[in-house]
Subunit: 273 residues, 3 copies
Amino acid sequence: MFEQIFENVRGKSPLVHCITNYVTVNDCANMLLACGGSPIMADDPEDAVEITGICGGLVINIGTLNQRTILAMLAAGKRAGELGHPVVLDPVGAGASALRTDTALKILEEVKPAVIRGNISEMKTLALGSGTTRGVDADVADRVTEDNLEGAASFAREFARRTGAVIAVTGAIDIVADGERAFCIRNGRPEMSSITGTGCQLSALTAAFVTANQDRLLEASAAAVCAMGLCGEIAHGRMTGMDGNASCRNYIIDAMYRLTPAELEKGAKYEVR
Amino acid sequence: MFEQIFENVRGKSPLVHCITNYVTVNDCANMLLACGGSPIMADDPEDAVEITGICGGLVINIGTLNQRTILAMLAAGKRAGELGHPVVLDPVGAGASALRTDTALKILEEVKPAVIRGNISEMKTLALGSGTTRGVDADVADRVTEDNLEGAASFAREFARRTGAVIAVTGAIDIVADGERAFCIRNGRPEMSSITGTGCQLSALTAAFVTANQDRLLEASAAAVCAMGLCGEIAHGRMTGMDGNASCRNYIIDAMYRLTPAELEKGAKYEVR
Amino acid sequence: MFEQIFENVRGKSPLVHCITNYVTVNDCANMLLACGGSPIMADDPEDAVEITGICGGLVINIGTLNQRTILAMLAAGKRAGELGHPVVLDPVGAGASALRTDTALKILEEVKPAVIRGNISEMKTLALGSGTTRGVDADVADRVTEDNLEGAASFAREFARRTGAVIAVTGAIDIVADGERAFCIRNGRPEMSSITGTGCQLSALTAAFVTANQDRLLEASAAAVCAMGLCGEIAHGRMTGMDGNASCRNYIIDAMYRLTPAELEKGAKYEVR
């Protein structure tokens, strides 16, 4: 199934509008190109609405939000809704400041994203309307482990039911759920958390996958998460004794550029709960 | 000829003010350093005017324009004109939104760039006052091929005549023209379009080349285009079976860092029409 | 001593708020992760104050300042002061424009940074209230050499005395001084000046080091400068005949990721004057 989903990405070359933070934006653009998509960035409110109109999907990442870009996020998000384009929300740092939490909640309400992708702390913040986040990383107390996996999957399904969005909670074990089913995914490498922007890149990637597979949002999101983790594994396997997080960052994007749909199908490690 | 032009860049180390998009700005800075130039970025209107005053050239790239940076582009562009500094305009996404098209046309009129560098769709938009662009990429219908090369060269010469700028239309075949002559350039690799920002880097590079060679704007622009393409070829030759667009991005900049003026002279592939 | 300082960084994993330029922000984030710290970027004034509250330290880099981010710098800087968090100021381009000089002087006065890190031209501008900078690089006439080292060390100690900040003047020879002592550091490689953002990365790194070692600001700053230079040496040793500034950039961050506290202790090259 993931093979066909990834073939659709490569074949349709979805144009994805990214309103995203300036920390990791270059990696997001190269990741989109690596998977077969095409990126365009616009965050002036006037420009953003029009650019959304020529794209197939939109990712809204609040990592370095400001008053101007918040307007662009909301305006472009609503335009995407009118056009039936899938929107992926990445609530970076929700819970770390009121502006981030409030903005993420407002986007959730006014834009109705197709997918929300974040770490467990950000997701709990959105689900509960409050929470703790250690900056842009998940709080240790929140982390998804084998012991609390069932509870986390249940949380994701429930949050998906309430929002109507696919919920992608990523961490050591990733959970991608709609209201009925949760993919529990075990691809990836711990080193990925030492690279800035692997989460942002995954959100952009997810936007490409769902844009090219709008009839299968859950499976497309799960495929994107597996693909990202798999590329982390491939990158790790390539590291020499002198390589660190900078080279690994490049290798992950390289791996996506080389990854074939058949390799994704074969390398994806998940169970559905 | 290109040898001397590149020697001037390395020898004079031109300081180039970049008002450029935040997606590819880091690569533009490293590309400028790689060629022997020096970058400085300033996009606050007040700051931009003063920074232009201490530089030798200016590149205006509208890739992530907003209302504030548009003011900086116009103000710095006019200041550069007063000082006789060459300005390179990169009309990223002209044709994709009214704000981009209008801003590019306004800069064209008020700043009088020395060079305009873009893909064929962006250039047609500027020349005709309208056009179609697929986001930041050229529309397939517009692409320059061996079959329509003569027409494209003629378009570039004509647009150069009207604007007084050197016109650099880049794609599979690149055309760099003034009102009289068109360099048709066949350096480069198709993989370069899978790397975000190769066009932006080329615009920054062109600014360094023309700043160091103000008496030969056409030849300096053509030399920059050849140099970029040649570095793409060198980078491609270095790629392993695991490398993708991220590593290739690094290799292109590396290649510019290593490229000698004599190698550019020897590796440049062009004809003049 | 540096061994323990670096162990504290790796052990405490300081969360560092960066208000920094968009040119080199990604490298700053990866450098912070490489050393064992954790980055968060926020530059909306409202958001920045709150984010500072959850962090341990703050770096203010004025490289691409604008009217909005200047407000964020001042507000977050004051909040950090109230909380007793160390602030590192990187006055990028002070002396190159009035806005940069004035902003740096204002931060110096209102925020009272724990550390100021810049090149000699920027530092002289701040100390004398005027100066010349060649864009973001040091003026040749200012450069610290073996011949003027004693004078430069004396300048740094005196400036430290007046400001109460640790003064880190970096260049071919680095000087890190408080009012009493100056570390003269000879780690590093000339190639580092051909990579955009090595200074910015060092400022971010210094913030991590002082945040984890608040009782030893001078030594922690000197350790950060030695660590950065040492990673430049390691990166240089790894370069092949095809590598240039882009690969070297990655190798420096990689080297920090791999560097052990014992290696820093052993590789640091300095004398105290």
